[in-house]
Amino acid sequence: MNIPLLAARNVTRNKLRTVLTTLGVAVTVLTFVLIRTVVAAWYVGVEAASKDRIATRHKVSFIMQVPKNYADTIRQVPGVQAATWAQWFGGKEPNHEGEFFATLAVDPKTTLEVYDELVVPEEQKKAWLENRQGILAGDVIAKKFGWKVGDRVNLVGTIYPGDWQFEVSAIYTAARKSIDRSTVYFHWDYLNESLPEQRRDKVGWIVSRIDDPGKSATIQASIDQTFDARDIQTLSQSERDLNNSFLGMMSAVLGALDIVSVVILIIMGLILGNTIAMGVRERTTEYGVMRALGFSPRHIATFVLGEAFTLGIAGGAVGLAIAYPFVNQGVGLAIEENMGAFFPYFRILPDTAIAAMVMALVLALVAAVIPAWQASRLRTIDALRQVG
C-alpha cells in the first residue's frame, strides 16, 4: 500500500455512488466525443471535397435551372478540361419509402470524365452508356436495396411525378472519399425527352473539371463573366465551397452543440463537486484520525484529489469504452453510408479521445479543488469531535 493507492481506494467506499458518478462522467465524455467527432468529421468532408472541380449554377438560387448548352460554353473557358451537367430528380424507391438518397439525371459520358474517381467495371460502364434507361448506382445504396446488375427497378418521381422504369446497368465504388456511394445516376436524355417542350434542355447545375486547382478562383470568375451579358447569369463555386455552403446551416447547429457541450461540462462539474464534497463531509472523522496519526493537510488534500482523479480516469475510460463501439461501429457507419458526401469519415479521431480523457481528468480535479481545500483546512480536534 502507498499514499496514491490509499487515495484511489476511497472510491470503493460507496460503490453505488462511485458507479453513478463514474457513469455521469462517462456520459459527459460520450457527449463530448460525439460533438467533437461531428465537428471533426465535417472538416474531413470539406478536406476530401475535390479541389479541381467547379460547380456552376443559376446566380439567383440553386433551385433555378440554367440552359444545358451552357456546358458547351464552359468547355471553351481556358483551364476547363471537361464539363458535365446534372439535374436533381428526387426519386423514391417504393419499397423503401423512408430512405433518402440522391437521384441525379446526368450526361453519362461526361459525368464519368468529370467524376474520375467513380470506379465502374469496364463492361458495366459500357452497358450503362448504351442503355437509355440504365442506372449507375452506388454500391452502398445498391446493397441497401438489394439491387444487382440487370435488375429492373421502379422509381417514383417527386419533382417529376410518375413511375419511372429503369434497369440497373452498373454499380460504382469510389476511389476517393470525395464521392457519396449512395447516389443513383441515370440518363438525363431519358428525363429530358419525357418533358413538355418548354421545360426541356434545362439543367440544375454544371460541373467542370479544371487543370490547375490553384487557378480555381480565376476560372470561376471567367466562367461567370462569360454569362454576364446573357439573360441567365451564373454563380460558380469550387466543390469545396459548395459543400461548405450546404453545411452552412450545419455549422450553426454545430455552434449550438458546442455551447451545449460546455453547459453539460459545467453541470457535470457542479454535480461532481457536490458528490465529492459530500464524501468529504462524511469522512471528516477519518481525516481527523489521519491528521492525529501525523498526516499533513497536504496529504488530506491529496486524498481528496486522488479520489477525484480516480473517478475522472474511470469515467473517461468508461465513456470512451462506450463511445468507440457506439460511434465507430454504430452511428458512424450509418452516417458514412447515408451522408457519405458530407461525412465521408465519421470516426473518433485519436485527438478527440485524448482530449476527452484530459477533459474528464481536468473536470474531476477542478470539481475536487474546493472540497480538497476544505478538508485540508479542518482542525484535527474539531474533525475528531465530529464522531459519527
Binding site: N2, L293, F295, T380
Partner: protein, 232 residues
Amino acid sequence: MSTAASSAHASAGITVRDVTKVFYRGKEPLTVLDKLNLEVTPGQFVALMGPSGSGKSTLLNLIAGLDRPSQGSVQVGQSSVSNMADSELAKWRSQNVGFIFQTYNLMPVLTALENVELPLLLTKLSGAERKKRAQTALRVVGLEDRSTHYPRQLSGGQEQRVAIARAIVNDPSLIVADEPTGDLDRQSADDILTLLTKLNTDFGKTIVMVTHDPAAAERANVTRRLNKGQLS
C-alpha cells in the same frame, strides 16, 4: 515492533504544568482546564476519570499534541509539546504517540493489515519492512489470522485490537486512549484492558487512558479524577 529494552523511546514521562485551556463559543469563553498540573512517570499507566464535559478528552489532546494549551506547558519525554508548530507536532505525533479511540476509527476501505500499516506510510521504510512490522503488531494483539479482513468483517473487540496494533506499530513512547472500551461488552472490554496492561508491563509503554468504567480504571497504576478544571 521492537521490545521495550531495545527501543529508543520505550516510554516517556509527562509533565503538565499550570495548563489552562479556554474554548470560545462565539465570544463567550469556556474555561475547561484551569491551571492544571499533572505528572506521569515513564512507564506509568494512568486512568483519567470524571464527569462528562469535565475536560478529559481536552487534557488528553493536549498531552498527545493534538491541541495547544491557552496557558502553561506540556512536556512529553524530551519534547516541549506546547511549543511546537503544527507541522512539527504532526511529525512528533507520528513518531511518539499511539492513538486509541472509543469508536476504533479504522479506515473501512483498508484491510486490518493495511490499517495497521497506515502510520508507517509516513516513514521511509520499504514496503516489505512496513508489512513485516504491521504483521508483528497484529501478532501482538492476537489477530495475525485476520490481516486480510476489512473492519466490517470484524467484531467491535477485534476492531479495537486492530486499532491498538495501529497505535503500537510505530513503537511510540506514549499511548493515549480515549474511552477505549466505551463501545464494548464486558468480555471484549476486559480483553482490551488486558492487552493495554500487557503493553504497559511487557513493553513499558506510558499509557494515559480516559475512562468512565471503574473496572477499567482499576487496571491502571493510578487513577486521577478531573472536576471543574482541576485534577484530584
